[in-house]
Subunit: 217 residues, 2 copies
């Protein structure tokens, strides 16, 4: 029996794009269900009753939620490009950094735009991003995953693509080549990977969306 793979998502969401990148790395075809978050589908509410959020992957009828949990599941189930390292220690480090992106980096960065660029809040976001910058410098590799993208790169897709878009929409700029030479170079490499590029939402649409959201339209 062929696999039945459904993704409930939203094209503009960095969390959903994590899952799309992972599916792309495995060459998995799937049916995409675009959700309207103002009017969530009965399927979404049925498949993710706890959080009622996208993304949800449904594989042969089995629903899975939480983007990084889904990405690990995809890596467990399908062959194709590896997402997590095989070595247990390297794997633990990848999970550590993915969690750091989720728990520390993304909230700090989001807060900047909520605060309309408050200097102290920007400084706090830069402090977290500097930790990632240093990690990439110490590794000395193109990606967090090495020569190819892996779990941490996927987790950080927001920083590679969305951050620059929100900066443009809000005219609040702190993710610069000057401050973050390694991380900005990584972001360039990441968004230009074939496997990533083909699933990213159109830039102009995203800029308009965030202009509206942050009141600059």
């Amino acid at each position: 029996m062929a696999d039945e793979v459904k993704l409930y998502g939203l094209g503009g969401s960095p969390f959903v794009c994590r899952v799309k990148i992972a599916l792309n790395m495995k060459g998995i075809k799937y049916e995409n269900f675009e959700e309207d978050l103002g009017n969530k589908s009965a399927d979404l509410l049925k498949y993710n009753p706890v959080h009622k959020k996208v993304p949800v992957l449904v594989h042969n009828g089995n629903p899975i939620s939480e983007s990084l949990v889904i990405v690990e599941y995809i890596d467990d189930v399908w062959k194709g490009l590896p997402i997590l390292p095989q070595d247990p220690y390297e794997k633990a480090l990848a999970r550590f950094w993915a969690k750091f992106v989720d728990d520390k980096c993304m909230p700090a960065v989001y807060k900047v735009f909520g605060s309309k660029g408050d200097e102290q809040v920007v400084a706090e976001a830069c402090e977290q991003m500097q930790i990632l910058e240093n990690e990439l410098k110490v590794k000395g590799t193109k990606f967090f995953g090495g020569d190819n993208i892996g779990l941490v790169d996927i987790a950080a897709d927001f920083m590679a693509y969305w951050l620059g878009i929100i900066e443009e929409a809000t005219e609040i700029k702190f993710f610069t080549k000057d401050k973050f030479p390694k991380l900005t170079e990584w972001a360039d490499h990441f968004v230009n990977c074939e496997i990533v590029k083909e699933i990213l939402p159109p830039r102009e649409d995203m800029v308009s969306f965030f202009k509206k959201r942050f009141g600059k339209a």
Copy 2:
């Protein structure tokens, strides 16, 4: 060469106890370093420069931080009692619920004591715990892991042991058999597992600690 395993921790921490339970399930001997959080050791700062927090596991010189990342590492590296299921879907569900405990349940429960038992805050904590109660009911098993403890049980050690202690110390009680018949039964089973019981910090010490912390000493 024998494995060298060091744990930098704090006996009273539910996060550190997660790691101790996992090591116990694998029958791993380790050197325990008790940290003074008011005066952190040079080793702790060296091994966990990002968060500067316990627990840190150092295995043959390789440091790992974040309790659930460590628990997964232990399961990857050592045979013994299994912590995560083998089946990829069951594994994803375990990770989903462990994350739910960390992201939703524990913060909601902690908030209760910070708020000195504010009714609305208690209701919000109960709402999250009710989701776990229902999950256990649907599963119909003794533990979240089935017949034996697994990742989710370990993640929820705070609720099984610490919650009742803090309730006693603060005289704020909401984790009752009445409201949570399944979850309180699970907590009883959990703290009475040999493998768990032998590493839990003494109850009276913990009650005193939380009485001081919450100003009831």
